[in-house]
């Protein structure tokens, strides 16, 4: 019996050491989440335009093309719960924030991070944003949701002095820059199928409440939210569930009625976006991001003029 326990301990000891060592080292490697948390902590007071949301804004809006100080605090698969969390976490420091930009995509109101394929990203909010939504090990450690080869790659990066940051200094996602375009037809069909399959109608009420909370917070802060449905290629649009999309639009309209300061723009079929602007059927590349950012900047400037005009009436 003692021999058995001794052997189990000796056998598992190297595994435990590897796990603990890796956990400690990986947390030292700067990544997108730690970078954005640190940036917001130090610079929130300078930000006038804040971008939140999922990969549609992470890769779709490049802050350097805004005429005001802006920052992209979006993350891949970030759901409304975490958008609200980031807004609330730094709201005391957003002394100059004027505009909040948030995408409401086809699936946004029917999904949450923890239910999707990328659920493991919830750990980043716990580890690097100090979010206390989860208490289990899976969402509070790096190693539990990482593969050993990925861990070894990260350890090599650390010892080579590299980091894991894939964003620009203003938070724009760089992974799609200078990469080949995916097959728009195939990616559209597969993304539409995936987003529809992963959508859960039971989450609509919860997400609408979260959205309302975001608008309420903005109202208290004197911030104007601009929400938009991002551009998508024809193959994506043709394969989504029309009923779900209508439900999204109807539900959104019902919330927007209560908030006069919120503006909504639907760019999904906007013909200003061409094939050359897309990385895949539902994500823009850096050319498309520049275009979208400039469109949003124009909207903001127009709204400013209307606001100033109204102010001096």
């Amino acid at each position: 019996m003692i021999r058995f326990i001794y052997k189990i301990v000796v056998f598992t000891f190297p595994i435990l050491i590897f796990i603990c060592f890796s956990e400690f080292i990986i947390k030292q490697i700067p990544n997108d989440y730690s970078y954005k948390n640190e940036y917001l902590t130090k610079n929130a007071q300078h930000i006038q335009i804040l971008i939140l949301g999922s990969s549609h804004s992470f890769f779709g809006i490049n802050p350097k093309y805004f005429s005001k100080n802006s920052f992209n605090a979006a993350h891949v698969s970030q759901s409304l719960k975490y958008d609200l969390f980031i807004l609330k976490k730094f709201k005391k420091n957003f002394s100059n924030l004027k505009v909040l930009i948030l995408p409401i995509s086809y699936f946004t109101l029917f999904t949450q991070l923890e239910d999707g394929q990328e659920h493991w990203r919830a750990k980043y909010y716990s580890l690097y944003y100090n979010c206390r939504y989860h208490s289990n090990l899976m969402y509070n450690t790096e190693v539990m949701t990482s593969k050993p080869l990925t861990i070894i790659e990260l350890l090599i990066k650390y010892f080579n002095g590299e980091n894991n940051i894939t964003v620009s200094n203003l938070g724009f996602g760089l992974s799609y820059t200078n990469t080949a375009q995916s097959d728009l037809r195939k990616s559209g069909i597969s993304a539409a199928k995936r987003h529809t399959k992963n959508s859960n109608m039971n989450l609509l009420d919860t997400n609408l409440k979260l959205l309302s909370n975001i608008f309420t917070e903005c109202d208290k802060m004197g911030v104007h939210p601009i929400i938009f449905t991002p551009p998508a290629w024809k193959s994506y649009r043709d394969n989504i569930d029309i009923k779900q999309f209508s439900m999204m639009k109807t539900s959104l309209a019902s919330v927007l009625k209560k908030y006069a300061n919120v503006k909504y723009y639907d760019f999904m079929e906007d013909d200003r976006f061409h094939k050359v602007d897309y990385k895949d059927a539902d994500h823009l590349n850096d050319i498309g991001a520049k275009k979208l950012t400039r469109i949003l900047d124009e909207i903001i400037q127009t709204n400013d003029k209307i606001y100033i005009k109204n102010l001096f009436r």
Binding site: M1, F4, F11, K147, P148, K197
Partner: protein
């Protein structure tokens, strides 16, 4: 908590230490520890389930004692009927009530008397109910038959019914085999515990690497079967065959391995079924605990095969249809059972069902052409039947199968995961070369240097960690 969860990884060592160290080798205390742990394990799913298992245990414990003390045959039958009605009644209500209600409604509608509002309940199926009800039924039936003396040790009996390694998905144990072990003093046997750990490791590999990865492709193919070619659908059916094997036999390996840590022997539930040379052999190697349960408690009492051919055909259809229905409240499971009845009947009628009782290629490294052909045909037939098991409805299953046997069978498959299929091939090779053993890692018992053995274990752990897919629920938990 499932076997491949962090909660179980914490639960098991605690129970292990309590069992061997705190109990001071006292049999009663050990049984009490197992009982409390098993109820804790089961209650983790849903505490309400505990009421059911406790009720079922109480009924059969009492019935067992009273049957044994009763000489009058009519009273003995009445008591046995009480046990059967209670256990089958529980199973029928929780698992089949809505199925019968909805089908009665359809039948009445068909005959022109529609029922607009059938009584349908929102019933949660208690995990493991199909397994433990059969286990306790075997106890009372064996007492009735005079094969077993009832136990007056309530703790031992309750622990036997709720024994956590095999509670939620088997193997379905007989009281004559498992309950007697609860009455024996336990001594820790090092070799048994170590091999138990190996079996757990191999079970985890089958579940996490093979089954959960198969599930990714199977779910997609079955969800969108109407968009895929026959070749893809055939791959889907075969991948499901590996998914259900990896899932269920993996669970059984973990259950058996875990039991060995506590000094208990559970019966083997899978004996490399996909190396079967015919369907009769397949059913001697697949879900052995269930098929032998039906053989001993349903098939043989009906007359078995020692009867006229007509009665034999009737018995075979009854057994396989009931066995299919045991799996779930859906016509697809009944169809699956019926198909297997049709498959096996020729062997029973021609009395060739015991042609292959030894291990395939017993004295050779590799199978000969005839054996490859036999195994291939058997696997194909089994995979086709699995389509009914996996499909949501009989219509969809028929469409799926008809598409397999269409011209598109010869067109290139849209889904052809080369690397994963290579992994499956390697897995089959490993299982092939270990087909004479209890499990594929048993060979590590042979004397080899420590670093070699531990190297193999580390490689398997690395593969589980690296290749493991998104966690899927154990398929048999739904039964």
């Amino acid at each position: 908590m499932t076997f491949n969860s962090i909660e179980f990884a914490i639960f098991l060592p605690i129970v292990f230490v309590l069992y061997w160290f705190v109990s001071y080798k006292n049999k009663r205390i050990q049984n009490l520890i197992l009982l409390v742990s098993s109820y804790f394990f089961y209650g983790w799913w849903d505490w309400r389930f505990l009421l059911l298992i406790a009720f079922s245990s109480c009924v059969d414990y009492t019935v067992g004692i009273v049957i044994n003390g009763t000489k009058k045959e009519s009273n003995r039958k009445l008591l046995l009927a009480t046990s059967i009605v209670t256990n089958i009644g529980l199973l029928a209500f929780f698992k089949y009530f809505n199925f019968f209600a909805q089908n009665f409604q359809k039948a009445f509608t068909f005959f022109g008397c529609p029922i607009t509002d059938p009584m349908v309940f929102d019933i949660i199926l208690p995990v493991g109910i199909s397994f433990y009800t059969f286990q306790t039924l075997s106890y009372t039936i064996d007492i009735y038959r005079g094969k077993l003396q009832p136990t007056r040790d309530m703790i031992a009996f309750f622990a036997f019914v709720s024994f956590f390694p095999q509670l939620v998905a088997g193997p379905i144990e007989r009281a004559t085999h498992l309950l007697t072990q609860f009455h024996q003093n336990k001594t820790f046997i090092y070799g048994q515990a170590v091999d138990g750990m190996r079996q757990i490791l191999w079970g985890l590999f089958k579940k996490i690497v093979i089954a959960d990865n198969c599930a990714i492709f199977v779910n997609d193919i079955f969800a969108c079967y109407h968009t895929y070619s026959g070749s893809t659908l055939l791959i889907g059916a075969m991948l499901f065959a590996f998914q259900i094997y990896g899932d269920f036999s993996g669970y059984s390996d973990i259950a058996i391995g875990t039991s060995r840590l506590f000094g208990y022997h559970l019966k083997r539930n899978f004996n490399f079924p996909y190396f079967s040379r015919d369907i009769a052999e397949f059913w001697r190697r697949w879900h052995i605990s269930l098929s032998t349960w039906f053989r001993d408690y349903v098939y043989i009492p009906l007359g078995g095969s020692r009867c006229t051919n007509i009665v034999l055909v009737r018995n075979v259809f009854i057994i396989f249809i009931v066995s299919g229905f045991w799996h779930g409240a859906n016509w697809t499971f009944i169809a699956w059972g019926t198909i297997h009845a049709i498959y096996i009947l020729p062997y029973l009628l021609l009395k060739t069902h015991r042609k292959h009782t030894n291990t395939v290629a017993e004295n050779a490294w590799l199978p000969n052409f005839t054996e490859i052909w036999q195994m291939g045909i058997t696997f194909l037939l089994v995979s086709i039947a699995w389509v009914f098991f996996r499909s949501e409805s009989i219509t969809k299953a028929f469409i799926y199968i008809s598409e397999i046997f269409s011209a598109s069978l010869f067109s290139p498959a849209e889904v052809f995961p080369k690397r994963f299929l290579l992994l499956i091939f390697l897995f089959v090779c490993v299982e092939w070369f270990q087909r004479k053993r209890q499990h594929a890692l048993e060979f590590c018992q042979i004397k080899m240097p420590l670093w070699t053995r531990w190297g193999i274990y580390y490689v398997v752990i690395f593969m589980i960690w690296q290749l493991g897919a998104e966690q899927q629920e154990f398929i048999y938990f739904q039964f």
